[in-house]
């Protein structure tokens, strides 16, 4: 009896060990069945983050082509990026169509072999989009890896009630007229501070720098040959000087921090910079009680861009041709207008930008501001910019921290600039 129990136990352990090993090796050889050439895929997978407004479009595509499309959404870019890195590093798991955001596009472009060249797969659309947006979808080696989706052209969101209390105009045209340039913006801020008994005007100086950086149309942290020029770039210096001069009207609330999110309800600041995708976030942070108190005006200096994406097809996709067709469909003029009406991403297709439904759109939460018209106009003012491979890392981990160190009084202007130029070299190396 004892022997049998022991023998069974031995067998059980052996079995467990074998299944463990077997299970592991099973992970190694996933199905490698390649599709026959020209075969129609049963299913295509699309990876997006945030809200790109593709739910209905995907259903329409399924109906038209008979190809099933699975839409995988990830809420935040910070969760989306590590997943994508894992797919690419291990060579499996990536969706057939993958959304790439402006900030992460460059570092993924640095290794273009991870992406399919769309040039032979889709028709020539180079003249149909904002030219600079189209250019950014190309890898350094000339391969076309991304089709343009949306753009984050800038506007200013401001609190009408707080403006009124401080003695500033409240009508959006008059407000826009207050700040034809950044100097005017600063003056308006000072006036607001005086009129409100010392309250801050803008959320943070890094928000200002963001606006200034992207509207100059000059090289920022890298030159065209991707050399780091952070310490000598005039555009960066202008953004730095403009932003740091406004420290007196800043609430020192870092974008996305609890101080910042809470500040909307508390009225800690009266204005902030709003790409169209930011409108929803402003509304959410301010709450239903503040509905109708916000409005949208144009950005000082005209133009500017924050965010926006491309659709790419990973090299590991088994159905590159079909995937490219789907990406082509999702980025065409009609689809971009539909997506804008559904969730708000701003079109980059020139035809979509002229579309009547797009131009006549108004936003209820923001005092019925004609956001379609406002953003549509500012889109044309965006200057094309060459962003280097580690642009986002330099901006987020060198430029903005140094600026905040100055804003919070941890370092004087010279020390903070020194910190930035030193860190830009390490963060920008690739």
């Amino acid at each position: 009896m004892r022997l049998t129990t022991r023998r069974t136990r031995l067998a059980a352990v052996a079995l467990a060990a074998i299944t463990a090993v077997g299970g592991l090796s099973a992970c190694g050889n996933d199905d490698d069945d390649q599709p026959a050439a020209g075969e129609k895929p049963a299913k295509l997978v699309v990876d997006t983050f945030g809200e790109m407004g593709y739910d209905e479009l995907v259903k329409q595509y399924e109906k038209e082509t008979g190809i099933k499309v699975e839409l995988r959404k990830t809420a935040q870019l910070s969760e989306y990026r590590p997943k994508l890195v894992r797919y690419l590093a291990t060579g499996k798991g990536a969706a057939d169509v993958t959304a790439l955001e402006e900030g992460i596009l460059n570092e993924f472009k640095a290794n273009p072999r991870n992406w399919a060249d769309l040039n032979p797969l889709v028709a020539d659309h180079s003249k149909e989009y904002l030219p600079w947006k189209w250019e950014l979808g190309k890898a350094p080696d000339g391969r076309l890896i991304g089709l343009p989706t949306d753009v984050g052209s800038l506007a200013v969101c401001y609190r009408k009630d707080l403006f009124q209390a401080a003695g500033l105009p409240t009508e959006r045209d008059q407000v826009s007229a207050l700040w034809p340039d950044w100097n005017g913006f600063h003056e308006a801020g000072k006036k607001y501070k005086q009129g409100s008994g010392g309250k801050a005007f803008i959320d943070s100086i890094t928000a200002v720098s963001n606006g200034v950086l992207f509207q100059q149309g000059a090289d920022l942290f890298y030159d065209k040959e991707n050399n780091i020029i952070a310490d000598s770039s005039p555009a960066v210096k202008t953004a730095w000087d403009t932003a740091t001069s406004m420290v007196d009207i800043s609430a020192k609330a870092q974008t996305w921090s609890p101080e910042w999110s809470g500040g909307f309800k508390q009225g800690t600041f009266a204005a902030t910079f709003c790409p169209s995708w930011m409108l929803g976030i402003v509304a959410e942070n301010s709450g239903a009680a503040n509905k109708g108190k916000w409005d949208v005006a144009s950005v000082p200096g005209g133009g500017g861009n924050w965010g926006g994406s491309w659709l790419a097809v990973p090299e590991q996709s088994k159905y590159q041709k079909e995937a490219a067709k789907l990406a082509e469909f999702l980025t065409n003029a009609t689809s971009q207008v539909e997506a804008f009406k559904a969730k708000g991403p701003l079109p980059t297709n020139l035809e979509a930008l002229k579309n009547e439904a797009f131009l006549s759109y108004t936003n209820e939460y923001f005092s019925n501001a004609p956001t379609g018209k406002i953003f549509g106009e500012s889109v044309s003012k965006i200057e094309p910019i060459h962003l280097g491979p580690k642009h986002q890392a330099v901006k987020e981990n060198a430029f903005e921290p140094a600026m905040r160190a100055f804003e919070n009084g941890q370092a004087d202007k010279a020390k903070a600039w020194e910190q930035f130029t030193k860190d830009a070299k390490t963060q920008g190396a690739f």
Partner: protein, 322 residues
């Protein structure tokens, strides 16, 4: 045990003609069983350890010898990553931060744990089980929740601590703007979470001390305080070493608390005031795709530091024990 098993055949049927052969085979199986089955019993652990522990470690070591792009090329560069590490200001900065937060969290935490354990060990205390359970509760709460709540308490504008300070006329503190203040805030999260855990371990150690020692001391007229110093503390030493080593490992790997305290920014403060070693490893190894090899070198540096500190601990305690 095994001998008795060989003498009892597995089936009660009348012995077949080849009974001796069967008996011999049974004996052989039994010997094999005795010799090798213990290894099989512990095999699952070692298999899992091999896959999820040893392999990643060796792979990390291999990575650290390369200029390794997560989604690009890998070039062998020998020990270059390690020599770069030695002259990397931000590595040393992270090391200082890690040890600073470690000291601020471990020392008060262990003293408090010792005090609480002694209190809970008193026979006079009522509702002992309740208190023992209650003190462990913070440890069950998820780190992220703790970090988010503490992050709110330590906010500059609307935080509870700044409000309390304002009541006594102290200017609001920008908690994440200075080294000392950010370290204090992060250490307080760690303390809140781990004091109860350490208290329970120390309490278990205290209860293992024979009661007659205390009785004898009491008869000799030793005060409570004296008993604590002369009996409890020396007898508690092995438990204490265990607690210190655990805290060291936890302290050297501190990651979530400082990360969430700084709104998830991996550089930990505008001037890296509270970036820990683990965060620096993540920044180089994961956030920056193209410096994964360097990140792997940081990971091995952390490992070596933990080994060194634990060894130092061990040697120190062994010397005082003699």
């Amino acid at each position: 045990m095994s001998l008795s098993a060989t003498t009892a055949p597995p089936s009660p049927a009348p012995p077949p003609p080849d009974a001796p052969a069967r008996r011999r085979r049974g004996y052989l199986l039994n010997r094999l069983d005795l010799k090798y089955s213990p290894y099989l019993y512990i095999a699952p652990f070692f298999l899992l350890f091999g896959v999820f522990g040893l392999y990643p470690m060796l792979r990390t070591a291999w990575m650290s010898l390369h200029d390794w792009d997560m989604i690009g090329d890998h070039t062998f560069i020998g020990l270059d990553n390690y020599s770069a590490l030695l002259s990397d200001d931000y590595f040393w900065n992270a090391l200082v931060n890690t040890f600073g937060i470690f000291a601020l969290s471990t020392i008060p935490q262990l003293l408090l744990a010792l005090f609480l354990a002694n209190l809970l060990n008193k026979t006079l205390l009522r509702a002992k089980t309740f208190f023992r359970m209650a003190i462990f509760v913070p440890n069950v709460v998820s780190v992220a929740a703790v970090a988010i709540v503490f992050g709110m308490l330590f906010q500059r504008e609307f935080g509870l601590f700044n409000w309390l300070l304002s009541l006594v006329g102290v200017d609001p503190v920008d908690w994440d703007g200075e080294r000392w203040s950010s370290w204090t805030a992060i250490a307080s999260m760690v303390n809140w979470r781990w004091t109860g855990y350490n208290t329970l371990i120390l309490l278990a150690g205290m209860q293992a001390i024979p009661k007659d020692l205390y009785e004898a001391a009491a008869i000799d007229g030793a005060s409570q305080w004296r008993q604590f110093w002369q009996i409890t503390l020396p007898m508690l030493k092995p438990t204490f070493i265990f607690v210190v080593i655990l805290s060291t490992i936890g302290g050297m790997q501190l990651f979530t608390e400082p990360l969430l305290f700084g709104n998830g920014n991996i550089i930990g403060g505008n001037q890296r005031e509270f970036q820990t070693l683990a965060m620096y490893m993540y920044e180089k190894g994961i956030t920056n795709l193209n410096t994964a090899g360097y990140g792997a070198a940081v990971a091995w540096a952390i490992f070596m530091i933990i080994v060194l500190v634990s060894l130092l601990n061990f040697l120190l305690v062994r010397r005082t024990a003699k």
